[in-house]
Amino acid sequence: MIGFGAPLVLAGFIVLPAIWWLLRLTPPRPETETFPPLKILMRIIRKDETPHKSPWWLTLLRLALASLLILALARPMLNPQADLSTGDGPVALLIDNSWISGPDWDARQITARGLIEDAGERGQPVLMAFSAMAPNAEIGPFETEAALERLEAAQPEPVSSDRNLALARLTEGARDLAASGGVSLALLSDGLAAANPLPTPDATVFSSVTLFSPAERRALALTGTDNGADAMVVAAARDPSQMEAAVMNVTAFDSRSRPIASAPLTFAAGEDTGEARIELPFELRNAIASIAIDATPQAGAVRLLDSTSGRRRVALVAAATADGAQPLLAPLHYIRQALLPFADIVEPEGDDLEAVIAQALDDRPSVVVLADVGVMPEAARTRLQGWVEDGGMLIRFAGPRLAATESGDDALLPVRLRSGERALDGALSWNEPQPIAAFPAVGPFAGLPAPQDVSVRRQVLAEPDISTPERTWASLTDGTPLVTGRTLERGTVALFHVGSDAVWSNLPISGSFVDMLRRLVRLSSAAGSGGDAAGGTLAPLRTLDAQGRLGQPPATAKPAEAETPVSFENPPGLYGVADGFRAMNLFAADTRFAPLEPGADWPTLTRAAYADTAETDLRGPLFAGGLLLLLLDALAVLWMSGALRGAARAPRRVAASAALGLFVAGGSVSGIDHARAQSTDNAPAAQVTEIDELAAIEAISQTRIAYVLTGNAIIDETTEAGIRGLSDYLASRTALEPGAPMAVNPETDELAFYPLIYWPIDPDSPAPSAAALQRIDAYMKNGGTVLFDTRDQLTSGLDPNASPATRRLRDMLAGMNIPPLEPVPQDHVLTKSFFILTEFPGRYRGSPLWVEAANAPVGDQPSRPVRTLDGITPIMITGNDFAGAWAADAFGEPLYATVPDDPLQRLYAYRAGVNIMMVMLTGNYKSDQVHVPALLERLGQ
């Protein structure tokens, strides 16, 4: 709908008839020509035939022009914003900066700014509170400037709206101001109801309430995960305003933010909850650290998983010292091999059992395996028992030592054992070795197929008593228990009645052994029972921001108790330490979203939409249309007066000039971007499905450095010259002789051919489409590297905000899976792949070169470059304008001066390019140089 800012101007339409009359009356002024043969002419023309009225179409054109001007002056607006000034008094703003505010935060800020400036024009103070703010944050009253500053500083927080505190404080603040006039409350909401219902604003304080709601709510959140038997089931909830069937994608990431798997997230029509099943092997599922909905940069769309669903740590303790020469006879060998795929193994070394067990428990394992440990030192036994009672899981294996032990009432055994073992297979025995009976339907092994190829020759026997059957988890075909277990307080004790090596039975070398151990480990309560991770006060480790990115906790984050709800001071994230943390997620399971509905008893309530999403000023197009008509009118007058008669002989020129006029006018309407936008619009439609063979052969017949076309001719030429200059330098300095630079368009071209794609960021060119970003993402995942150059080092220092190029880059990278980045550290392979470099200058210097962060160091072991994986950093970011420094003309003379103008800087820029190319082509091979001392030492030299 269209509204007018100054509707009175529309009265100007009254003068249209007068204009029409005047236009009809006044002919265009004729061109006067001296013409000697007038007498001949007079025989043709009768004087009364001379038209003294404008042609009708010219009149129509001018009337249309006048109408357009009147319309434009009346300030027409598409979907006009309601008049926001609700009163003359002060304004109290309650702004939601919840997790869902990210997409329309700008609109919210614009609306708030408009309200603050309105109040400023009236000379009224502003109260301003945010739904996510520190309890003691200042809420005003502010002067206009201070309020605007605070508004600019505010940002979405990764928590749900909790408006009650803010409203209470606003009410309190407004009460002091109420004397100066009714305070109008503006509620800039995110449209979602909070957990606690919003109390009615105090009518004695607030004269009016304006409720702003976004036009479209896109709440979408993961509300729970369940690591089931065969799949990780992810529950999601969405906004009830969106009820059509939808399929999204969730991606699971490991602890280094590498995507592991993705699965469709399906919402049925009419349902506001959905489900995704990530079907992965158990080991991989354990590696999942977070799950996020694709292309939904919101804190709610990210679910963090802690170690309750992660890998267990298992401590292995054996009484017998392993004989290094005969590993197959070592008591722990088969257990270790069986557990390795899905558990972290801790194996304390030493002869002193007490010290060993203490050391094992210090590592806070989920499971402790005691292989053939009979008698334990009392201190170790007490501690172990305490650990089990706290939730630990103890798995014991029988053996000669255990069999020789008088167990008595050992609490750490599930059953009383008879002393000595039972031999089923011996020269003096009548018994045959016994196979294993089917596993009972209840118990940890339920559902596992009973192994047919396993036979037990020896075992320890349980002293039968009344509780033995229920503690029996597996038994032999003759009914004697094979595996027994029982719970001890919060923990579990399990006993294999056979040894952990292949002497007593061949169970440890069967596949069933692995399955059984896995079931048992799954039983364990994980998270290092008995450790501090599960309980107590945990410091924030890493927290989510509003866009759902995991990062350093903000300064306002506070330690969380076990039951602390997510709040502004406890944002969702990981709490604890790196080895043991608890994940706090934004939403509890079964969370549903509901729209924010004000109560019926609210003071005079106005509903409004946000400014940015709705109001479109139509003045520009109308004035541009008027200008176009004016141009046409001028052309028509020129044509009628014969001024174009010279051109009349060449009608093409007229057409060209008219077309030029139209183009200029059209350009002023929609900007030059129009043409470009069209071209990019068409691009995805014409997506290449098959690779153009000739182009492909051309691309791969030589190693080429590719660069992305921005559409800006100057940048593209500079880039092309830069890559060419670098190629020449590479050819002269290294064994690499690259082919001519290849310009690529990420929308259409196949990228896989190029080791490096140089991407100069041009904020003025149209942003690449999501499809193109996906292609880039895939390219980076598959081993390619993109070097983003924002080229703004010179200007970015002057601007406290991010430069447009940087913002564009951020927007682009937001749609990709980007690993954590760091500036090139001093020992990175990039610093020594060809030249020894300490910095990477381009045309400018000072901007760091960002690359994928290497693994975090473990202990005092240096993390780099030894631990760097074989991968090359898939992304590099700089602002130094490499291509500008590399660019050279046909004679090798540089095109652009470096800043500062230092020939050495250009040399270093080339060297940086060489190093980058070397890393691209040789990987981390140079990293091996750090091993040289160790290798030499090993060689005995």
């Binding site: 004729p30 061109e31 013409f35 000697p36 043969p37 002419l41 043709i44 023309i45 004087k47």
Partner: protein
Amino acid sequence: MTALGARVQRGDRATVLARSRARAALLPDLLVEARRIANIITPGWHGRRRRGIGEEFWQYRPYAPGETVARIDWRRSARDEHIYVRDLEWQAAHTVWLWADPSPSMLFQSRGATISKESRALVIVLALAELLSRSGERIAYPGAFAPTASRLGAERLAASLYGETALADQPDLSHVGGASDLVIVSDFLDEPEAIEARFAPLAARGTRVHFVEVADPVEESFPYAGRTEFLDPETGEKLTAGRAETIAAEYRALYLARREALSRFAQTRGWTHTVTHTDALASAALVRLFGLLSGEGSA
């Protein structure tokens, strides 16, 4: 958009003379075709390559009985048995009347033209005067310059025209003799009937008239378009055409018909009609006139 054509000031006679000299220098001496000339007693300087009254020896011929004895060349006759008469080469001058239209309609020059019509007319007249004077012909200008034979005829004609401030728009043809040539340089934009009425009496007198029509290119092509107000420089009349391009074809037809009528009028009387355009060089017309006057170009 400025007008295509504009009125111009009268040309400086001295400049015009210099230009006409330059044109004239390109042509050989102009000899008015002798056979066309009846018995003219006015002596000229140039022999007419036939016997007649003159000073130079032309030929000896046998005496025919009946001739006056006084013409016998006794010295020659004494050499042999025949009696010879000594003939002299006929040296006679012819009178050529020249007239350039001075009317305001001539004071017009369009942007495509190199020179105004009036200037072109004067150049042709003075160039002819120069050529004729060089050849010893007598030149005259109706109302301004009596028939004169002088080597400096062109200068003197220019001087007399220069002094003449108010030239009649139409030539006074009463003094034009019968056996003379009349060169009328004009745009002939008057009604054809008026022109024919004016010149028809000359045919009776035996005067040979050469019409030289000076035309500006825009007059002929009529490239006007759009709403145009036409102004007659002669009468000051105005005429507005709503869309001039629509009448262009009709106008051109009329214009050319007028020219055709003039040409036919000349041809039926053995006269000539030459068209010169002000965007072309005057020499073309001058060469044609030269031919016509010397009898080489006409049938």
